[in-house]
Symmetry: C2
């Protein structure tokens, strides 16, 4: 199927495997540790309680008590999270849990390779790809199996998923007698490319490419499939959701190469775009890559929250239109923000441009990390940018103004676990003759750079302080680039190489300061990224944020909480002239830099029972205190705003 004359795209970067990246202490180290010791065991227990773990053994076709359709995927994601921990640090207890989970999956596979909890009768297989998540689940199980194999060297889970992928490959495709279907929820595409990369079996890549290319073609598979089930396709929910463009909700309204705008369910969109980028790279498909770039522009430059979140509306958990970024009803599902990280990370390898890493950092530090409480026990599904709990408008736990212990559809908890435990994979890349540092966090990386094994130690108090200290240790002296990302938020970076000031501007390439020299053991590089508090404005067409600023310091977007600033946060005003100071508070939220300033509120004098009046209210000076957005809602339920009224 794949044109063999085309080569793999010349992709400048390759990510350094999580296996070779150590994260030690600091901001991320502590979160990784909480996830390993609290979140992952807790999620195992929840998967046991809900029945997700045992769902692979489901045999009945009764609808009552049928396993929830994404449970297989949830266990897959959980296994992936556990694998990221096990790959870098022995943990006997966790290894046992993972072994048991993997065993449940393996036992659940049918003799022919089929694996999915929600369908048992063979005649019902692949008859409702639109709604059932049948391949989505396989995708997450594949991702889990690949990570588990990488972390433990054990092949059994990987072999299981290969057999499952072989079954799919035998069934789906454009060859004679094959089913031309694809899943309503993209995920299996990117997973199949992972499986291809892990096994070298090109048929998995071919199948991924088939799924990508078939999507949205006419005659429409989902309509044919619905008709075969005896339904009236025109009357399906997916026609009604977007009458002018049926199946838009899962990016199947037209072939993916013809898509220009990020639309529909945001998680599906970003998983799809990630899979498209993978296929484009592996098959040398410039046209597909161009579609990825257009979709990036749409998602990131016109439809992304400042916290690195996507999906403005709970209606369909979806993208809406350009610049439509309401704060109080923001959906910005944790899974969608995570999927944005995946897409950004893939685009970054294709073009070593710091814009991609900037977005990855923005999402990780803000809209992703916000999904998990500091104690690792509760989760946000939707990530609002304004909370007003009194409103009581939350129709479900999924849009609650407080983190929840679990969800009926619990996709986010294992997703955030695998991102945090696997954070190492996003930090470094290598090129043919360079080592790229995308993210700043204490730890160590070991990798091959142009044939030389290099160890790099990173020491920093980031994101609280902007100084990052690197110590190099190549196995032998070698000439290569050390490429350090200069974040988009940083105006005046300073660089010293072995103590000598070096001009960043002179060596800046696409947002990376590329220090090229002969490196030897003990060489030191010090990057300083000054972090003044910035007042961020949104584009004038973002109507929700006109007249408002968001406070950002370094990679962190800040917010104001009721517990620090009193209720009625909407009435606070922060003048442009107010000086903003930073204070590190050791005892607050596990240690945090807060921002303080002077603002105003309206005096309540004379309001009483009035709801409207034409007398102007007097302003009253008040202190303002902001904390990092990702850490909000760790001190009870209350109001919160990211975008503060101000000049």
């Amino acid at each position: 199927m794949i044109d063999d004359r085309k080569e793999k795209l010349r992709c400048p970067l390759s990510p350094v495997s999580f296996l070779n990246v150590g994260i030690s202490g600091g901001y991320w180290g502590r979160r990784v540790e909480t996830v390993r010791t609290v979140t992952i065991p807790l999620e195992y227990e929840m998967n046991r309680k809900t029945g997700a773990l045992a769902s692979y053994q489901w045999e009945s076709e009764r609808d009552k008590d049928r396993p929830w359709r994404i449970w297989v995927g949830d266990v897959g994601k959980w296994t992936e999270a556990a694998a990221y921990c096990l790959g870098v640090r022995p943990d006997r207890k966790l290894a046992e849990l993972a072994e048991h989970a993997v065993h449940e999956v393996i036992r659940g596979q049918k003799p022919d390779g089929y694996l999915y909890c929600n369908v048992t009768a063979p005649a019902r297989r692949w008859t409702n790809l639109r709604d059932l998540h049948e391949l989505y689940d396989v995708g997450h199980a594949i991702e889990g199996a690949v990570a588990y194999y990488q972390a433990t060297g054990k092949r059994d889970f990987l072999d299981t998923m290969c057999r499952c992928a072989d079954l799919l490959e035998a069934n789906f495709g454009d060859g004679p007698g094959k089913q031309r279907g694809y899943d309503g929820h993209p995920e299996v595409e990117l997973a199949l490319v992972k499986l291809y990369r892990s096994t070298g079996e090109r048929r998995y890549l071919d199948l991924a490419k088939f799924f990508v290319d078939e999507r949205g073609r006419q005659p429409h598979y989902f309509d044919q499939e619905a008709a075969a089930r005896g339904e009236d396709p025109k009357n399906s929910w997916t026609h009604r959701f977007s009458p002018g463009a049926p199946h838009l909700c899962f990016q199947a309204h037209r072939p993916v190469r013809q898509q220009d705008e990020a639309v529909g369910h945001a998680v599906r969109a970003l998983y799809l775009y990630s899979g498209m980028a993978d296929v484009a790279v592996e098959t040398g498909d410039e046209e597909l890559l161009a579609a990825c770039q257009r979709l990036w522009m749409s998602a990131v430059h016109r439809r992304m929250y400042v916290i690195g979140g996507v999906g403005s509306s709970s209606h369909g958990e979806a993208f809406t239109c350009d610049y439509d970024l309401p704060n109080e009803t923001a959906y910005a599902e944790t899974c969608a923000n995570i999927a944005l990280v995946f897409f950004a990370h893939r685009m970054l390898q294709i073009k070593a441009d710091s814009e991609y890493a900037d977005v990855m950092e923005r999402a990780l530090y803000n809209g992703v990390l916000s999904g998990l409480s500091l104690d690792g026990r509760t989760f946000f599904y939707a990530n609002h940018l304004t909370a007003y709990p009194k409103g009581g408008n939350a129709a479900s736990d999924h849009v609650a103004p407080a983190r929840q212990e679990w969800f009926g559809c619990a996709c986010c908890p294992p997703n955030i676990a695998r991102v945090i435990s696997g954070i190492g994979q996003f930090v470094y890349s290598t090129s043919s003759d360079g080592l790229y540092v995308h993210l700043y966090m204490g730890g160590r990386v070991k990798c091959q750079v142009g044939g030389t094994q290099v160890t790099l130690k990173q020491e920093t108090d980031y994101p609280w302080k902007g100084k990052v200290h690197f110590t190099l240790d190549p196995e032998s002296p070698a000439r290569f680039d050390l490429a350090l990302r200069i974040p988009g938020w940083c105006r005046r970076p300073n660089l010293r190489v072995n103590g000598k000031v070096t001009s960043v501007a002179a060596i800046l390439r696409s947002g990376y300061a590329c220090v090229r020299r002969d490196w030897a053991k003990g060489d030191e590089v010090e990057l300083t990224l000054p972090m003044p508090v910035e007042r961020v404005e949104a584009h004038p067409s973002v109507r929700a944020n006109c007249g408002r600023v968001a406070l950002q310091r370094g990679p962190l977007v800040y917010c104001l909480e009721e517990v620090d600033n009193g209720p009625d946060l909407a009435d606070l005003f922060l003048p442009r002239t107010s000086r903003l100071t930073v204070e590190y508070r050791k005892r607050l939220l596990g240690g945090v830099a807060v921002i303080r300033g002077k603002g105003f509120r309206r005096s309540r004098a004379g309001w009483k029972d009035q709801l409207y009046r034409s007398t102007r209210s007097r302003p009253k000076a008040v202190g303002i205190l902001a904390i990092p957005y990702a850490l909000w809602a760790n001190r009870g339920t209350g109001e919160m705003v990211v975008w503060v009224r101000g000049g």
Copy 2:
């Protein structure tokens, strides 16, 4: 049932019947004329086309094609609207249409008096009062019958509805063998009091009081009724809607006397409160009146839009919580705003306080009149205070950013027709020795004041100009109060009696300037209500409006439209220092006073592809033009804002 020792409340005011009020020309006269000649005939035609008119003849129990549950009520409201026209002006064509509509209703009555289109099998009668609107429809038909009788003197429709009410009276109540039910949608309560007032039959009042008092009592009727239908009451939508307070959506969560907050479906709430006020007055029930006063405070002082609209959320078309008044997702259903007028009008008669008339005027001039296009042909169901049509978030025609030709549930069109055609009934009241003028509009009233027949002529260009000229014509000289409402928005009223300046402050009683003297034919009173443009603020807890002002002039709330001000209205800023001028434009929107001023927008320079940046945008001076809110969306679809950013 009613304690006969209690007397009717001493109610200071009685409204002057629409039959005795002429509206000539001017702002309202033209709208009344459009409704009579365009809207009412058009609605007749729609009622014919949809099947609403013929729905009374429905005989089948098939679910397919079953008449829509409120069609009987819609025809009732239409008849009422037609009656208000016919009562003050002959119109042969309209009289024929009304005669035909009335005949359809009469023909539809079952031999025992039953009347409702959606239920035919006697065994199904009154088995789902919670959902079916079975008594709601009877209520609107009664209101139509009373108005038709008053306007034409023809008794047949009234007799039909008396037979229907008799059937209800025989079936419902707390006596032995009677059904203790009441309707999920209040309306029949206020209608039964109208029927009582029109016929003198006290049993109708008793029944109204029963319905009011039974509402929300335990054991809960709607739960018993659901169980009798074989449903699980705890699993009903009305439990799920408000888990802590089942049946809150229709104000049946607790007995009405124990209610303090305006909650649930806003139309139902205000119809209920109106019925409660009626029953309180007629039965001398101070406790019930106190509940009305508490609910007034809640609805008007903490939950009302500046346009005189209520019901903040489309979710249940309902009230939400105090100060929760979002602009873009405002529901403020035309019917709810109309129901607010009804409640205000009733409270005004009970206590002659201009606060009630102020709210009535606010709603009529803004959130009610906005419901109908200038040409009388299209209707708003929801009345947003911010429109952003690009958002495309409108899930249905009911919340569209443009007026619609009709709706699946078309309650609003006949409601606005009956309010505009019956506007005369809200203008004047009489007391034992006074004539009260609540609203200012050109025309003439004839009424008895303390035994003397008085004719009063009112001449004015209101709401464009604040001067109102009255000429009195008592049949013989008589001493009484001419009580002129001084609107809450007016700071410096001027009064001249026969040319002589009279101090308003000295004769002000509860917001009315009470001119007491011996009046003789030809006496003249001139009231001048200066109308500078006011910048209105909302209470600091109204988070949607912090940092914003609404422009108001006289009774009119203004808005900015895209057609006059360009797109991205959210970015406009109107400084406190900007002088606002008023210009009368004869050719615009049928003649309208616009407000002009100077504001600012952010310059787009340098934005390009950026979504966020920390460079401050430069302000750019722009002209601002505002038109009355009620007249928006008469020049195509575009953005609109009521609350402009500004000091």
